[in-house]
Subunit: 449 residues, 2 copies
């Protein structure tokens, strides 16, 4: 499925990316663009603000791929060495583009400021190479095209030979067969990079891949564990060996990724065929596709049906309401909720009979059901959800250990309840309880009323 003519590398540049708190996420956007064009990513790396390290990294990357994408190191300070590193590594000459100096100066002048001298560095460009205008910031990007023979020549010229180094080179360098090497140079600020990738890189990839494009269809699965999904997929794997199907587990659900080459003329029917097979395997556990989330799917369904929901939460502490209200337009179907962290609040806000709580305890099936029904009545909503449990780390008993959670979903005529037993820290118990509650509501709605 991938394009054998090309392969790509990514380098993120900046010492701050080598610290204990930051990870490079720009590479994910670049990777997505490459994948859509069917071009394999062979390596990615992070280097600090050292000119020597940068030069070595650029050369090493280009010895493994004919497309290199860099992010970062284009700022105005002396730490920003990407331009210098590329010039050294690729044998390019840097010159000042006065029109860029003028633009930057004008930007400062518009705010009544004088341009600091240091900002002139952002007007440094590579002679004879393409400059990429950056709508979202001061640093322009670049698209550098290095002819195959010239790159090798430059490397030879710029690298004085040394004793003992000869034999290693062959192992380190795997000279690509491509006639040209392409280096795309983007700023590190995520929203600047994102804009430039979409504006310049994606169209170029579409061009070199001849309109071929990978298509990725994601099925979202709710209410199954990752291993259960794997188990169910076994016959599918056996029936279609070598086809790219991937399982990805995240707290928001299990994803089954189906990847195909949209350039093939039968791609559309191929995807449909495979999707139908997956639907047979997973049935109602498929809650959505691609960017869908449980909360967005529920929102769409409720909005379409003109129905509403209200929530009464104990152990999830408001997280269920918060997830529902993350969706734009949720005020059309979410009326509100109560967070009842005490028995009194369950009675006062969700209308749970105090005697019921005394008889069964706050964490029990009857109380979860009464919360769902009570909050529904209080808000006059189509559906009510009640969640009560023990999020821990304390508060458990032998009969009701930490992680015991009761969830109920109610309409005017029907009610459903589930008892769950989670393990893990409090925030995990909260999250998975809301995940179950949303999945219960999703399945409850079509058959309710």
């Amino acid at each position: 499925m991938s394009d054998p003519r090309h392969s790509a590398s990514i380098i993120a540049i900046g010492s701050e990316m080598l610290g204990i708190t930051r990870v490079d996420t720009n590479s994910l956007k670049i990777t997505a663009a490459l994948e859509n064009a069917g071009i394999p990513l062979v390596r990615k790396s992070v280097v600090g603000d050292s000119r020597g390290d940068l030069v070595a990294e650029i050369r090493f990357s280009l010895s493994h791929s004919d497309i290199l994408v860099t992010s970062g190191g284009l700022g105005p300070t002396e730490d920003d060495l990407t331009r210098e590193g590329l010039a050294d590594a690729l044998g390019l000459e840097i010159e000042v583009d006065q029109s860029i100096v003028d633009k930057i100066a004008a930007r400062f002048a518009a705010r009544g400021w004088k341009m600091p001298e240091v900002n002139k560095r952002q007007a440094n460009i590579f002679r004879g190479q393409r400059v990429l205008y950056n709508e979202r910031g001061t640093a322009p990007g670049f698209h550098l095209v290095i002819p195959g023979d010239r790159r090798d020549a430059q490397q030879r010229v710029r690298s004085p030979g040394g004793e003992g180094a000869t034999e290693v080179a062959d192992a380190l360098l795997r000279v690509p067969t491509a006639a040209e090497t392409h280096v795309w140079v983007f700023p590190g600020v995520p929203h600047e990079l994102e804009w430039m990738v979409a504006k310049y890189f994606v169209p170029w990839l579409a061009e070199i891949s001849g309109g071929r494009a990978r298509r990725r269809r994601v099925l979202k699965i709710g209410g199954l564990t990752e291993s259960a999904v794997e188990e169910r997929l076994k016959p599918f794997y056996e029936a279609h060996p070598g086809e790219p199907v991937t399982i990805l587990a995240s707290p928001a659900g299990i994803e089954v990724h189906l990847i195909t080459d949209a350039g093939a003329e039968d791609a559309e029917s191929f995807v449909t065929t495979r999707e139908n097979e997956l639907h047979e395997i997973f049935g109602a556990t498929v809650f959505g596709y691609d960017d869908d989330t449980l909360e967005s799917v529920i929102g769409r369904t409720l909005a379409e049906r003109g129905e509403t929901v209200a929530t009464a939460e104990s152990c999830t502490g408001g997280l269920l309401a918060s997830r529902i209200t993350d969706i734009p337009g949720s005020s059309a179907y979410f009326l509100g909720g109560a967070v009842c962290y005490t028995a009194a609040a369950k009675t006062d806000l969700a209308g749970v009979d105090a005697a019921l709580i005394r008889a069964n305890g706050e964490v029990s099936e009857p109380v979860a059901i009464a919360m769902a029904q009570g909050i529904r009545q209080r808000f006059g909503s189509t559906y009510g959800i009640g969640v009560t449990g023990i999020a821990g780390p304390t508060g458990g008993t032998p009969e009701k250990p930490v992680g015991t959670v009761h969830i109920a979903v109610a309409s005017a005529l029907a009610v459903e309840h589930r008892k769950l037993q989670w393990q893990g820290p409090r925030t995990i118990i909260k999250w998975y309880s809301t995940q179950q509650a949303l999945d219960m509501l999703r399945r409850f709605v079509p058959k309710a009323r």
Copy 2:
């Protein structure tokens, strides 16, 4: 502050780490261990499951550092090539450790299963090198020690020379001066790696760094923007040039990191002196230290004072209650809350006078105050918080654009209000509104009652 005798590289191994959804986070744990020992990380990279790429990457990394840490690629399948790649790159021999085969077989037998033949690969070890027992999984790790001269020799032996490669090698290789090279090999499963780093790597780092250890003190700042923090720090930077102070901005607040070498005998008083200076600069905006969050600090304060809080939320949709209840033990001081997504709910649950809403609109100072006071009375709590606003993307007007948020905090005797104007998507507006609400409560508590 860093140890000039050593430098480190990290390689994460596995094609799945080159996809569009995963980032390598194991490296952050390794980086933290290195930083505490004062050993600089010079590069990190991700490579796929290709033996050739892996060999080249290992050699390239070792040409830039004398300590290499790898994660991943130790599983039982044929895709797991870390052992083979290391053997090739470093000239080591692989042999089977029968005692490990027996252990893995016993593990399977205990569940009534036969060990699959493929699992024997996890018993492959390097002749004469140290094997690291993995308490949390089947794959052992390794600590490989390669004498400086032997490594160079092996590279020469294993890399047949090639035309044109000579001159490049010198640029690619920067042979470290250290007498020995150390390669630490860990599995990629995060909780296995975490255990092994703590068990084997950290003690070794402490040993080679001679008990020197960096100390990091983090001050958490609330209610200031990143640029405001930078502005206030300018005189501090000028007074103490070259001292390692770092600002990190995240949605949970701005962090000022103060790093020092705890090996120095006056480290303790040094940190105290600098901390006092920072306190003079930032005053009451400092809400905590190190792992503190606004919600944990508020929790500690309320628990100590034996006081309680309740919330009435409109645009934050339950997120405020959810953040408060993320803290273990929050049931001691959080009584509950109401999510009032309609005017009727504001009246019914938070006791806001319907006439007040008609006169001022749902998003207004009087309504925010009435929500805070009303919910306090309803729950009988010491404090009440009211939040009402327009999270967007629709619902804004010229007078009250999207992002307008009113927050009020009330006790029996006092009330405070703030009007905010945010920009960004709904989830961002929700988050920063809760951040402000928590910060307002934090500052309100000491002077209230």
